[in-house]
Subunit: 390 residues, 2 copies
Amino acid sequence: MQESQLNPDVLNVEPSALRKFDHEISADPKIVKLTLGEPDFNVPEHVKEAAIQAIKDDRSHYPYYWGIQELRDAASKYYGEKFGYHYSANQILCTVGATEGLAATFKTLFQPGDGVIIPSPAYPVYKAMAGVNHLKPIMINTKENGCILTASQIQQAIDDNADLKIKGLVLTDPSNPTGAVYSEQELADLVPVLKANHIWVISDEIYGELTYGVNHYTLSKWLPDQTIIINGLSKSHAMTGWRIGFVFGPTGIMDQIAKAHQFMVTTPTSIVQYASVEALTHGQHDAEGMRKIYEQRLAYLTTELDAIGVSYVKPKGAFYIFATIPAKCHQDSYAFARKLATDYHVGVIPGEPFGDSHAIRISYASSNDNLKAFVAALKAYLATFETVAG
Amino acid sequence: MQESQLNPDVLNVEPSALRKFDHEISADPKIVKLTLGEPDFNVPEHVKEAAIQAIKDDRSHYPYYWGIQELRDAASKYYGEKFGYHYSANQILCTVGATEGLAATFKTLFQPGDGVIIPSPAYPVYKAMAGVNHLKPIMINTKENGCILTASQIQQAIDDNADLKIKGLVLTDPSNPTGAVYSEQELADLVPVLKANHIWVISDEIYGELTYGVNHYTLSKWLPDQTIIINGLSKSHAMTGWRIGFVFGPTGIMDQIAKAHQFMVTTPTSIVQYASVEALTHGQHDAEGMRKIYEQRLAYLTTELDAIGVSYVKPKGAFYIFATIPAKCHQDSYAFARKLATDYHVGVIPGEPFGDSHAIRISYASSNDNLKAFVAALKAYLATFETVAG
């Protein structure tokens, strides 16, 4: 059988470059990793206890495909109180992490050939999902405006792509990889152009609880009929591997997304759903302890980077710094990150998959010792260029 | 925003009629259910213990997207010994149940417009997945041959659809809903026509451990280069709600299916993966106790149906009886099943979604008391027709 007969949309997509790079450098037993987008904390004890109880109670049967009622009720209350979401339980779908929420949403909202705006630097999975669904990703570089997309950029993209039906925009707020966070005004400013052009917004708010000195706002406040929110417990409750996410949106649309979801996975893991009820009912403050530690690490890293003279987008949320590779290195992001990994046993992610081959993504969801090791390695490596130049 | 702008392949697909019907009749607190396709047993204790240990050990981080190495190694050995599968760990993908394995496989193997043969009566999710992927399902009625597809039927379908590129066949063995099981010879007989026409086989073997008096064989023995096997622990280890499945296939193709999978779900739940290692390492005999009980229930039900004079496809596997609604009832499958539910508080699934509006699917993954209640209800209901006729 020929591979060429397979679906070209799958053939043409690259496997996640982030995970591939991380997997490659993990072969080094000495590697110190500031690579992956997951908390270095454990699932809160009370949530672990709830999962154990669900196992003991034999909660092992098929949950309803939207997710169990208790979890959707709990999500309605929790996110309403946290961020002012206005969604009843029947507008909330439980998914296999944010990824499956995104996949079901991409599949449902768009038709092959539609255009989707993705502000860049961007989490590369969005572009991959556009590819898998035979959509045309329209990447808009936002670096000149502090990684905040503007209404005029959206209008420009529409004007520049008159041959395309631009049907969607993916907004990541707070942003992976830059840590940029939209202010209330910056979101409100986007609304008229999105409304006028009937553009769906997939609002990925998975890092919503992790902001530093600013609040998280949701575009759904102004644009409820055109916004689909993706959220979940991976970052707020350090439950990445447990795989639980939520999709929030208008009723008629959610019925359709739920169907796409049903024929992808049936439903997320039952015992995780029961544990997640506990997380949303008694874990309102679980993220706060982690958030404080991330904030301290961010302060440490930015102080050190400032001292070394490495520039970066000023992060206000998530747990990444997107730093520019000093020009004197004359290296693209893969060369730079590979060298750091092989010679200094420190792993960061090349910026190229995010759309910037002159940057690296540093995750500070990593221990203080790891951050120190990274700073030392970075200093040592950059010093080699001074020598050469001198 | 208009729903009509959404993806028509999602709009046009119906939500699972099985689950919808089950959900509807579940509103009756007195309902006795022989409806869903899941064991009425609990997850084996040693597997539950392993899951609890994984929670305590904080196995909560992102597993590699193919699934953890230990699980793929264990699956290679387990299924090799059980059914003679010949797949190394790097040819095995861990999925969110069989459903996600099917979804990733459908997405990867086929291009929009391709034809896929589905022998009927069939599990309705296959047709839904064909629809979601914009494929043309070619339903072949197999009832005249004891629900076993023949090579000449495949050839006939090819001849009848000369305008279509028939790229796939979904084989469910043992069958849901009929319990039919292919013999070694019946599988071998299909090979030449499948080879000659380069038809991919998606071989759903999820009920492989549940056969009665016959062995389970795998088409991959004769057709390794064209077969993708779907399996998992939902039925063999009563782990439906835990959501763990496996896809087995040729290396180059598996690399592609793994990508489709990555952009659907990232990976199945970590703690379930660790528990599944235990299931496959020390749970080789877990299914046997359940299988014996299913076999006794099958004997009980067939004896009773024979006595009542209700005909059915003779089941050799799975845990369903697909029974014909007696002609004297003059009722289609929904009317018959609804009446049984509303007047007798007994739930079975209408045959219509499986492709036969004159049948019902009776699941004997239900307690002996439930089976007795069903038999009593069926007798009582059918007796009402005698009275009318008399």
